[in-house]
Protein backbone atom coordinates (compact mmCIF):
# COMPACT_ATOMS: atom_id res chain seq x y z
CA UNK A 1 0.00 0.00 0.00
CA UNK A 2 1.18 3.52 -0.78
CA UNK A 3 2.60 5.36 2.21
CA UNK A 4 0.30 8.36 1.66
CA UNK A 5 -2.78 6.16 1.72
CA UNK A 6 -1.45 4.30 4.75
CA UNK A 7 -1.05 7.58 6.62
CA UNK A 8 -4.57 8.76 5.81
CA UNK A 9 -5.96 5.44 6.98
CA UNK A 10 -3.80 5.62 10.10
CA UNK A 11 -5.19 9.08 10.84
CA UNK A 12 -8.76 7.79 10.67
CA UNK A 13 -7.87 4.76 12.77
CA UNK A 14 -6.25 7.09 15.31
CA UNK A 15 -9.35 9.28 15.28
CA UNK A 16 -11.55 6.30 16.17
CA UNK A 17 -9.15 4.97 18.82
CA UNK A 18 -8.72 8.43 20.38
CA UNK A 19 -12.48 8.95 20.49
CA UNK A 20 -12.95 5.70 22.41
CA UNK A 21 -10.13 6.34 24.90
CA UNK A 22 -11.16 9.98 25.28
CA UNK A 23 -14.82 9.27 26.00
CA UNK A 24 -14.03 6.44 28.39
CA UNK A 25 -13.98 8.00 31.88
CA UNK A 26 -10.76 8.06 33.86
CA UNK A 27 -8.46 6.79 31.11
CA UNK A 28 -5.27 8.80 30.75
CA UNK A 29 -3.42 8.89 27.46
CA UNK A 30 -0.26 7.48 29.07
CA UNK A 31 -2.21 4.42 30.01
CA UNK A 32 -3.12 3.94 26.37
CA UNK A 33 0.57 4.27 25.50
CA UNK A 34 1.41 1.48 27.94
CA UNK A 35 -1.24 -0.75 26.36
CA UNK A 36 0.14 0.01 22.91
CA UNK A 37 3.62 -1.05 24.01
CA UNK A 38 2.44 -4.60 24.27
CA UNK A 39 1.20 -4.87 20.68
CA UNK A 40 3.80 -2.67 18.95
CA UNK A 41 5.93 -5.64 17.90
CA UNK A 42 3.02 -7.18 16.08
CA UNK A 43 2.02 -3.91 14.39
CA UNK A 44 5.53 -3.24 13.05
CA UNK A 45 5.37 -6.43 11.00
CA UNK A 46 2.59 -4.98 8.86
CA UNK A 47 3.06 -1.21 8.84
CA UNK A 48 5.90 1.24 8.23
CA UNK A 49 7.17 3.10 11.32
CA UNK A 50 5.94 6.50 10.09
CA UNK A 51 2.41 5.10 9.66
CA UNK A 52 2.42 3.91 13.25
CA UNK A 53 3.78 7.27 14.41
CA UNK A 54 0.95 8.99 12.50
CA UNK A 55 -1.57 6.71 14.17
CA UNK A 56 -0.24 7.63 17.61
CA UNK A 57 -0.26 11.35 16.87
CA UNK A 58 -3.83 11.14 15.51
CA UNK A 59 -4.98 9.15 18.51
CA UNK A 60 -3.29 11.41 21.05
CA UNK A 61 -4.65 14.63 19.58
CA UNK A 62 -8.19 13.23 19.31
CA UNK A 63 -7.92 11.91 22.86
CA UNK A 64 -7.00 15.35 24.21
CA UNK A 65 -10.08 16.91 22.55
CA UNK A 66 -12.59 14.27 23.63
CA UNK A 67 -11.08 13.77 27.08
CA UNK A 68 -12.97 16.77 28.45
CA UNK A 69 -16.41 15.26 27.82
CA UNK A 70 -16.35 12.64 30.64
CA UNK A 71 -14.64 15.15 32.89
CA UNK A 72 -17.30 17.84 32.46
CA UNK A 73 -20.46 15.76 31.95
CA UNK A 74 -19.71 12.83 34.23
CA UNK A 75 -17.34 14.28 36.81
CA UNK A 76 -14.75 11.64 36.01
CA UNK A 77 -11.45 13.42 35.34
CA UNK A 78 -7.82 12.40 35.06
CA UNK A 79 -4.81 14.49 35.98
CA UNK A 80 -4.88 16.50 32.74
CA UNK A 81 -8.57 17.31 32.75
CA UNK A 82 -9.08 17.65 36.52
CA UNK A 83 -8.96 21.44 36.39
CA UNK A 84 -11.76 21.59 33.83
CA UNK A 85 -14.09 19.80 36.23
CA UNK A 86 -14.28 22.82 38.51
CA UNK A 87 -15.87 25.48 36.30
CA UNK A 88 -17.19 22.69 34.05
CA UNK A 89 -19.35 21.12 36.70
CA UNK A 90 -20.73 24.45 37.82
CA UNK A 91 -21.81 25.22 34.26
CA UNK A 92 -23.33 21.75 33.94
CA UNK A 93 -25.46 22.40 37.02
CA UNK A 94 -26.69 25.60 35.39
CA UNK A 95 -27.61 23.75 32.22
CA UNK A 96 -24.58 24.82 30.22
CA UNK A 97 -22.67 21.51 29.98
CA UNK A 98 -22.50 21.78 26.21
CA UNK A 99 -21.14 25.32 26.37
CA UNK A 100 -18.45 24.19 28.83
CA UNK A 101 -17.25 21.43 26.52
CA UNK A 102 -17.39 23.79 23.56
CA UNK A 103 -15.08 26.22 25.37
CA UNK A 104 -12.45 23.54 26.06
CA UNK A 105 -12.81 22.26 22.48
CA UNK A 106 -12.25 25.67 20.96
CA UNK A 107 -9.32 26.14 23.32
CA UNK A 108 -7.92 22.84 22.07
CA UNK A 109 -8.27 23.91 18.44
CA UNK A 110 -6.68 27.33 18.90
CA UNK A 111 -3.93 25.64 20.92
CA UNK A 112 -3.33 23.17 18.09
CA UNK A 113 -2.83 25.88 15.48
CA UNK A 114 -0.77 28.07 17.78
CA UNK A 115 1.49 25.23 18.92
CA UNK A 116 2.37 24.37 15.32
CA UNK A 117 2.96 28.00 14.36
CA UNK A 118 5.23 28.63 17.33
CA UNK A 119 7.26 25.42 17.14
CA UNK A 120 9.99 26.73 14.77
CA UNK A 121 10.70 29.40 17.35
CA UNK A 122 10.64 26.77 20.05
CA UNK A 123 13.28 24.67 18.31
CA UNK A 124 15.54 27.71 17.92
CA UNK A 125 15.09 29.40 21.27
CA UNK A 126 14.47 26.73 23.84
CA UNK A 127 17.87 24.98 23.95
CA UNK A 128 19.47 28.30 24.95
CA UNK A 129 16.96 29.40 27.61
CA UNK A 130 16.33 25.91 28.95
CA UNK A 131 19.13 25.88 31.58
CA UNK A 132 18.06 29.33 32.74
CA UNK A 133 14.45 28.30 33.37
CA UNK A 134 15.57 25.10 35.03
CA UNK A 135 17.71 27.03 37.49
CA UNK A 136 14.81 29.27 38.56
CA UNK A 137 12.10 26.62 38.38
CA UNK A 138 12.00 26.11 42.13
CA UNK A 139 11.20 29.81 42.65
CA UNK A 140 8.52 29.76 39.96
CA UNK A 141 6.92 26.75 41.65
CA UNK A 142 7.11 28.20 45.16
CA UNK A 143 5.78 31.57 44.06
CA UNK A 144 2.84 30.15 42.16
CA UNK A 145 1.94 27.89 45.10
CA UNK A 146 2.08 30.90 47.38
CA UNK A 147 -0.09 33.00 45.02
CA UNK A 148 -2.55 30.15 44.73
CA UNK A 149 -3.02 29.97 48.51
CA UNK A 150 -3.02 33.74 49.11
CA UNK A 151 -5.62 34.37 46.41
CA UNK A 152 -8.13 32.13 48.18
CA UNK A 153 -10.69 33.88 50.38
CA UNK A 154 -10.03 31.45 53.21
CA UNK A 155 -6.28 31.44 53.38
CA UNK A 156 -5.74 29.21 56.39
CA UNK A 157 -8.19 26.55 55.22
CA UNK A 158 -6.62 26.77 51.75
CA UNK A 159 -3.18 26.12 53.21
CA UNK A 160 -4.49 23.08 55.13
CA UNK A 161 -6.04 21.58 51.99
CA UNK A 162 -2.95 22.36 49.91
CA UNK A 163 -0.70 20.63 52.43
CA UNK A 164 -2.98 17.64 52.99
CA UNK A 165 -3.24 17.08 49.25
CA UNK A 166 0.51 17.58 49.04
CA UNK A 167 1.22 14.93 51.67
CA UNK A 168 -1.18 12.58 49.92
CA UNK A 169 0.59 13.22 46.61
CA UNK A 170 4.04 12.61 48.07
CA UNK A 171 2.96 9.40 49.80
CA UNK A 172 1.15 8.17 46.69
CA UNK A 173 4.13 8.70 44.41
CA UNK A 174 6.31 6.80 46.90
CA UNK A 175 3.76 4.00 47.17
CA UNK A 176 5.79 1.52 45.19
CA UNK A 177 3.35 -1.34 45.04
CA UNK A 178 0.67 0.26 42.91
CA UNK A 179 0.62 0.98 39.18
CA UNK A 180 -0.35 4.30 37.63
CA UNK A 181 -0.52 6.07 41.02
CA UNK A 182 -1.99 9.26 39.54
CA UNK A 183 -5.19 7.46 38.56
CA UNK A 184 -6.51 6.86 42.11
CA UNK A 185 -5.04 10.16 43.31
CA UNK A 186 -6.88 12.35 40.81
CA UNK A 187 -10.01 10.25 40.55
CA UNK A 188 -10.33 10.60 44.32
CA UNK A 189 -9.47 14.26 44.82
CA UNK A 190 -11.45 15.62 41.88
CA UNK A 191 -13.79 12.84 40.73
CA UNK A 192 -15.39 10.67 43.39
CA UNK A 193 -15.36 13.50 45.95
CA UNK A 194 -17.49 15.67 43.65
CA UNK A 195 -19.75 12.73 42.82
CA UNK A 196 -20.21 11.92 46.52
CA UNK A 197 -21.12 15.52 47.35
CA UNK A 198 -23.61 15.62 44.45
CA UNK A 199 -25.07 12.33 45.63
CA UNK A 200 -25.41 13.43 49.28
CA UNK A 201 -26.84 16.83 48.41
CA UNK A 202 -29.20 15.17 45.96
CA UNK A 203 -28.51 17.68 43.19
CA UNK A 204 -30.70 17.51 40.14
CA UNK A 205 -29.58 18.50 36.68
CA UNK A 206 -31.57 21.16 34.89
CA UNK A 207 -32.51 20.74 31.25
CA UNK A 208 -29.31 21.22 29.28
CA UNK A 209 -29.29 24.05 26.78
CA UNK A 210 -27.42 23.80 23.48
CA UNK A 211 -26.09 27.30 23.74
CA UNK A 212 -22.64 28.68 23.78
CA UNK A 213 -20.90 31.03 26.12
CA UNK A 214 -19.01 33.72 24.28
CA UNK A 215 -15.74 34.94 25.61
CA UNK A 216 -14.16 38.09 24.29
CA UNK A 217 -11.25 38.05 21.86
CA UNK A 218 -9.21 39.83 24.46
CA UNK A 219 -9.65 37.07 27.04
CA UNK A 220 -8.94 34.48 24.35
CA UNK A 221 -5.70 36.21 23.50
CA UNK A 222 -4.85 36.53 27.17
CA UNK A 223 -5.54 32.81 27.71
CA UNK A 224 -3.49 31.83 24.67
CA UNK A 225 -0.49 33.85 25.86
CA UNK A 226 -0.78 32.29 29.31
CA UNK A 227 -1.08 28.83 27.81
CA UNK A 228 2.04 29.38 25.69
CA UNK A 229 4.08 30.31 28.77
CA UNK A 230 2.70 27.44 30.84
CA UNK A 231 3.22 24.93 28.05
CA UNK A 232 6.80 26.06 27.65
CA UNK A 233 7.50 25.07 31.26
CA UNK A 234 5.57 21.82 30.94
CA UNK A 235 7.20 20.77 27.68
CA UNK A 236 10.79 21.10 28.72
CA UNK A 237 10.98 20.55 32.45
CA UNK A 238 10.93 17.13 34.04
CA UNK A 239 8.15 16.47 36.50
CA UNK A 240 5.94 19.38 35.44
CA UNK A 241 2.65 18.25 33.89
CA UNK A 242 -0.08 20.23 32.17
CA UNK A 243 -2.04 20.55 35.42
CA UNK A 244 0.86 22.26 37.20
CA UNK A 245 1.35 24.38 34.10
CA UNK A 246 -2.22 25.62 34.27
CA UNK A 247 -1.85 26.47 37.96
CA UNK A 248 1.40 28.35 37.36
CA UNK A 249 0.00 30.21 34.36
CA UNK A 250 -3.24 31.23 36.01
CA UNK A 251 -1.63 32.25 39.30
CA UNK A 252 0.27 35.08 37.66
CA UNK A 253 -2.59 36.41 35.56
CA UNK A 254 -6.21 37.11 36.30
CA UNK A 255 -8.40 34.62 34.51
CA UNK A 256 -12.16 34.24 34.58
CA UNK A 257 -13.76 30.84 35.09
CA UNK A 258 -15.10 30.50 31.53
CA UNK A 259 -11.78 31.55 30.06
CA UNK A 260 -10.13 29.00 32.29
CA UNK A 261 -11.88 26.17 30.40
CA UNK A 262 -10.50 27.58 27.16
CA UNK A 263 -7.06 27.82 28.78
CA UNK A 264 -6.95 24.22 30.03
CA UNK A 265 -7.99 22.97 26.58
CA UNK A 266 -5.26 25.00 24.89
CA UNK A 267 -2.56 23.90 27.34
CA UNK A 268 -3.36 20.21 26.98
CA UNK A 269 -3.09 20.32 23.18
CA UNK A 270 0.01 22.52 23.11
CA UNK A 271 1.74 20.21 25.58
CA UNK A 272 0.84 17.21 23.44
CA UNK A 273 2.06 18.76 20.18
CA UNK A 274 5.22 20.10 21.79
CA UNK A 275 6.03 16.73 23.30
CA UNK A 276 6.61 15.62 19.70
CA UNK A 277 8.59 18.79 18.97
CA UNK A 278 10.71 18.23 22.09
CA UNK A 279 11.42 14.73 20.89
CA UNK A 280 12.73 16.22 17.65
CA UNK A 281 14.59 19.17 19.19
CA UNK A 282 16.12 17.84 22.41
CA UNK A 283 15.55 14.10 21.80
CA UNK A 284 13.63 13.80 25.04
CA UNK A 285 10.14 12.32 24.94
CA UNK A 286 7.95 14.37 27.28
CA UNK A 287 4.73 12.35 27.04
CA UNK A 288 3.76 8.71 26.85
CA UNK A 289 2.77 9.20 23.22
CA UNK A 290 6.11 10.82 22.36
CA UNK A 291 7.95 7.86 23.90
CA UNK A 292 6.24 5.75 21.27
CA UNK A 293 6.83 8.00 18.34
CA UNK A 294 10.48 8.04 19.42
CA UNK A 295 10.57 4.26 19.39
CA UNK A 296 9.24 4.07 15.87
CA UNK A 297 11.21 6.94 14.37
CA UNK A 298 14.77 6.36 15.41
CA UNK A 299 16.02 9.11 13.10
CA UNK A 300 13.33 11.73 13.47
CA UNK A 301 13.70 14.05 10.47
CA UNK A 302 12.27 17.49 9.88
CA UNK A 303 10.04 16.23 7.07
CA UNK A 304 8.60 13.60 9.34
CA UNK A 305 7.84 16.26 11.93
CA UNK A 306 5.99 18.31 9.29
CA UNK A 307 4.06 15.24 8.22
CA UNK A 308 3.03 14.62 11.84
CA UNK A 309 1.93 18.26 12.11
CA UNK A 310 -0.29 17.74 9.07
CA UNK A 311 -1.76 14.62 10.65
CA UNK A 312 -2.38 16.54 13.89
CA UNK A 313 -4.15 19.38 12.06
CA UNK A 314 -6.27 17.00 9.99
CA UNK A 315 -7.41 14.86 12.93
CA UNK A 316 -7.71 17.91 15.21
CA UNK A 317 -10.24 19.50 12.85
CA UNK A 318 -12.25 16.29 12.71
CA UNK A 319 -11.97 15.85 16.49
CA UNK A 320 -13.42 19.34 16.92
CA UNK A 321 -16.55 18.28 15.03
CA UNK A 322 -16.75 14.93 16.82
CA UNK A 323 -16.41 16.66 20.16
CA UNK A 324 -19.34 18.98 19.46
CA UNK A 325 -21.48 16.07 18.21
CA UNK A 326 -20.78 13.95 21.27
CA UNK A 327 -21.30 16.75 23.77
CA UNK A 328 -24.65 17.52 22.06
CA UNK A 329 -25.57 13.85 22.52
CA UNK A 330 -24.55 13.95 26.17
CA UNK A 331 -26.40 17.22 26.80
CA UNK A 332 -29.61 15.91 25.24
CA UNK A 333 -29.59 12.58 27.02
CA UNK A 334 -28.12 13.26 30.44
CA UNK A 335 -31.39 14.53 31.89
CA UNK A 336 -33.09 11.24 31.09
CA UNK A 337 -31.06 9.60 33.83
CA UNK A 338 -31.65 10.57 37.42
CA UNK A 339 -28.52 12.54 38.22
CA UNK A 340 -28.17 11.16 41.72
CA UNK A 341 -27.94 7.61 40.41
CA UNK A 342 -25.74 8.59 37.52
CA UNK A 343 -23.24 9.93 40.07
CA UNK A 344 -23.52 6.71 42.03
CA UNK A 345 -22.96 4.60 38.93
CA UNK A 346 -19.92 6.57 37.79
CA UNK A 347 -18.40 6.42 41.27
CA UNK A 348 -18.77 2.61 41.24
CA UNK A 349 -17.25 2.56 37.75
CA UNK A 350 -14.25 4.62 38.92
CA UNK A 351 -13.76 2.26 41.87
CA UNK A 352 -13.78 -0.75 39.55
CA UNK A 353 -11.42 0.73 36.98
CA UNK A 354 -8.99 1.91 39.69
CA UNK A 355 -8.96 -1.56 41.26
CA UNK A 356 -8.31 -3.22 37.91
CA UNK A 357 -5.56 -0.84 36.76
CA UNK A 358 -3.84 0.22 39.98
CA UNK A 359 -4.64 -2.71 42.25
CA UNK A 360 -6.84 -3.08 45.35
CA UNK A 361 -4.44 -1.17 47.62
CA UNK A 362 -4.95 1.94 45.50
CA UNK A 363 -8.51 2.12 46.87
CA UNK A 364 -6.96 3.50 50.05
CA UNK A 365 -5.59 6.42 48.03
CA UNK A 366 -8.91 6.82 46.22
CA UNK A 367 -10.79 6.91 49.53
CA UNK A 368 -8.40 9.35 51.21
CA UNK A 369 -8.44 11.57 48.12
CA UNK A 370 -12.23 11.53 48.20
CA UNK A 371 -12.24 12.57 51.86
CA UNK A 372 -9.84 15.46 51.23
CA UNK A 373 -12.00 16.50 48.26
CA UNK A 374 -15.15 16.49 50.43
CA UNK A 375 -13.31 18.40 53.18
CA UNK A 376 -12.24 20.98 50.59
CA UNK A 377 -15.86 21.33 49.50
CA UNK A 378 -17.16 21.65 53.08
CA UNK A 379 -14.54 24.25 53.96
CA UNK A 380 -15.54 26.28 50.91
CA UNK A 381 -11.98 26.37 49.61
CA UNK A 382 -11.16 26.49 45.88
CA UNK A 383 -10.70 22.97 44.51
CA UNK A 384 -7.56 24.18 42.77
CA UNK A 385 -5.76 23.98 46.16
CA UNK A 386 -5.77 20.22 45.74
CA UNK A 387 -3.22 20.70 42.98
CA UNK A 388 -0.85 20.71 45.96
CA UNK A 389 -0.90 16.95 45.37
CA UNK A 390 1.25 17.52 42.29
CA UNK A 391 2.97 20.78 43.22
CA UNK A 392 4.44 19.57 46.53
CA UNK A 393 6.16 16.51 44.98
CA UNK A 394 7.58 18.62 42.14
CA UNK A 395 8.87 21.23 44.59
CA UNK A 396 10.65 18.46 46.47
CA UNK A 397 12.00 17.09 43.20
CA UNK A 398 13.61 20.45 42.40
CA UNK A 399 14.79 21.04 45.98
CA UNK A 400 16.70 17.78 46.28
Amino acid sequence: MMVELQIILASFAGLIAGTITGLFPGIHINLVAVLLFTISGLLLQYFSPITLAAFIVAMSITHVFLDFIPSIFLGAPNEDTALSILPGHRLLLQGYGYAAVKLTTIGCFYGLILSILVSPLLVLVVPSIFPFIQRYMIFILLLSSLFLILKDDKKFAALIIFLMAGILGMATLNFRVINQPLLPLFSGLFGTSLLTVSFLENVGLPKQRIKEIKISHKSKLNALLTSLLSSLLVSFLPGVGSAQGAVIGSSFRKIKEETFLFLVGAINVIVMVWSFVALYAIEKPRSGSAVFVGKFLEYFSQNQLFLLFAVALFTGSLALILCLIFSRLFAKNIEKIKYKWLCFGIAIFIIIITTVISGPLSLLILATGTMIGILCNELGVKKMQMMGSLLVPVIFYYLL
Partner: protein, 111 residues
Protein backbone atom coordinates in the same frame (compact mmCIF):
# COMPACT_ATOMS: atom_id res chain seq x y z
CA UNK B 1 -23.16 20.21 57.55
CA UNK B 2 -20.74 20.31 60.43
CA UNK B 3 -20.66 16.52 60.84
CA UNK B 4 -19.61 15.92 57.24
CA UNK B 5 -16.79 18.43 57.66
CA UNK B 6 -15.54 16.76 60.81
CA UNK B 7 -15.98 13.25 59.45
CA UNK B 8 -14.12 14.01 56.25
CA UNK B 9 -11.31 15.68 58.17
CA UNK B 10 -10.83 12.73 60.51
CA UNK B 11 -11.12 10.18 57.70
CA UNK B 12 -8.54 12.00 55.57
CA UNK B 13 -6.09 12.10 58.47
CA UNK B 14 -6.55 8.39 59.14
CA UNK B 15 -6.19 7.65 55.41
CA UNK B 16 -3.02 9.73 55.13
CA UNK B 17 -1.56 7.97 58.15
CA UNK B 18 -2.21 4.52 56.68
CA UNK B 19 -0.87 5.45 53.25
CA UNK B 20 2.35 6.89 54.68
CA UNK B 21 2.76 3.83 56.90
CA UNK B 22 2.14 1.36 54.07
CA UNK B 23 4.28 3.32 51.58
CA UNK B 24 7.22 2.90 53.96
CA UNK B 25 6.61 -0.75 54.78
CA UNK B 26 5.37 -2.44 51.64
CA UNK B 27 7.85 -3.61 49.07
CA UNK B 28 7.14 -4.67 45.51
CA UNK B 29 7.05 -8.41 44.82
CA UNK B 30 10.29 -10.19 43.98
CA UNK B 31 10.39 -11.07 40.29
CA UNK B 32 12.97 -12.64 38.01
CA UNK B 33 15.07 -10.39 35.76
CA UNK B 34 13.94 -12.36 32.73
CA UNK B 35 10.30 -11.43 33.33
CA UNK B 36 10.96 -7.67 33.09
CA UNK B 37 9.33 -6.49 29.90
CA UNK B 38 7.91 -3.25 28.63
CA UNK B 39 4.64 -3.90 30.41
CA UNK B 40 6.59 -3.28 33.65
CA UNK B 41 7.72 0.15 32.46
CA UNK B 42 7.35 2.84 35.15
CA UNK B 43 6.40 0.38 37.86
CA UNK B 44 8.53 -0.65 40.81
CA UNK B 45 10.07 -4.11 41.02
CA UNK B 46 12.31 -6.07 43.37
CA UNK B 47 15.00 -8.21 41.77
CA UNK B 48 18.03 -10.24 42.86
CA UNK B 49 21.22 -11.01 41.00
CA UNK B 50 25.00 -11.12 40.89
CA UNK B 51 27.00 -8.07 39.86
CA UNK B 52 28.93 -8.76 36.67
CA UNK B 53 30.06 -5.27 35.77
CA UNK B 54 30.42 -1.90 37.49
CA UNK B 55 30.75 1.46 35.77
CA UNK B 56 31.24 4.64 37.77
CA UNK B 57 30.59 8.02 36.29
CA UNK B 58 30.09 11.45 37.72
CA UNK B 59 27.13 11.34 40.07
CA UNK B 60 25.95 7.83 39.33
CA UNK B 61 26.95 4.18 39.23
CA UNK B 62 25.76 1.62 36.72
CA UNK B 63 25.76 -2.04 37.70
CA UNK B 64 25.01 -4.91 35.41
CA UNK B 65 23.43 -7.69 37.41
CA UNK B 66 22.70 -11.21 36.25
CA UNK B 67 20.27 -13.87 37.33
CA UNK B 68 20.58 -17.20 35.46
CA UNK B 69 20.90 -16.15 31.83
CA UNK B 70 19.14 -12.78 31.97
CA UNK B 71 20.84 -9.55 32.97
CA UNK B 72 19.85 -5.91 33.36
CA UNK B 73 21.52 -2.59 34.11
CA UNK B 74 20.85 -0.94 37.47
CA UNK B 75 21.46 2.78 37.85
CA UNK B 76 22.07 4.26 41.28
CA UNK B 77 22.58 7.92 42.12
CA UNK B 78 23.80 7.12 45.61
CA UNK B 79 26.95 5.29 44.43
CA UNK B 80 26.95 2.43 46.96
CA UNK B 81 30.25 0.63 47.62
CA UNK B 82 29.86 -2.68 45.85
CA UNK B 83 32.15 -5.17 44.15
CA UNK B 84 31.85 -7.62 41.30
CA UNK B 85 30.39 -11.06 42.08
CA UNK B 86 28.44 -9.71 45.05
CA UNK B 87 24.84 -10.83 45.22
CA UNK B 88 22.45 -7.95 45.70
CA UNK B 89 18.76 -7.23 46.00
CA UNK B 90 17.51 -4.15 44.22
CA UNK B 91 14.22 -2.27 44.51
CA UNK B 92 13.68 0.28 41.81
CA UNK B 93 11.67 1.63 38.96
CA UNK B 94 11.78 0.15 35.46
CA UNK B 95 12.77 2.90 33.03
CA UNK B 96 13.81 3.03 29.41
CA UNK B 97 17.12 4.52 28.35
CA UNK B 98 18.24 4.55 24.74
CA UNK B 99 15.91 1.75 23.75
CA UNK B 100 16.84 -0.64 26.57
CA UNK B 101 15.14 -1.25 29.89
CA UNK B 102 17.03 -0.56 33.08
CA UNK B 103 16.29 -0.22 36.78
CA UNK B 104 16.55 3.11 38.58
CA UNK B 105 17.40 1.87 42.06
CA UNK B 106 15.82 3.31 45.19
CA UNK B 107 17.34 0.74 47.57
CA UNK B 108 20.19 -1.73 47.13
CA UNK B 109 20.91 -4.44 49.69
CA UNK B 110 23.75 -6.97 49.80
CA UNK B 111 22.42 -10.47 50.41
Amino acid sequence: MRTLLLASFICSLIGLFFIIFLANHLEPNLISIKSIGENKLDSYVKIRGVITEIKETEGLSIFTIREDTASIKVVSYEKPLLMRNQKIEVIGKVVEYRGALEIEATTIKII
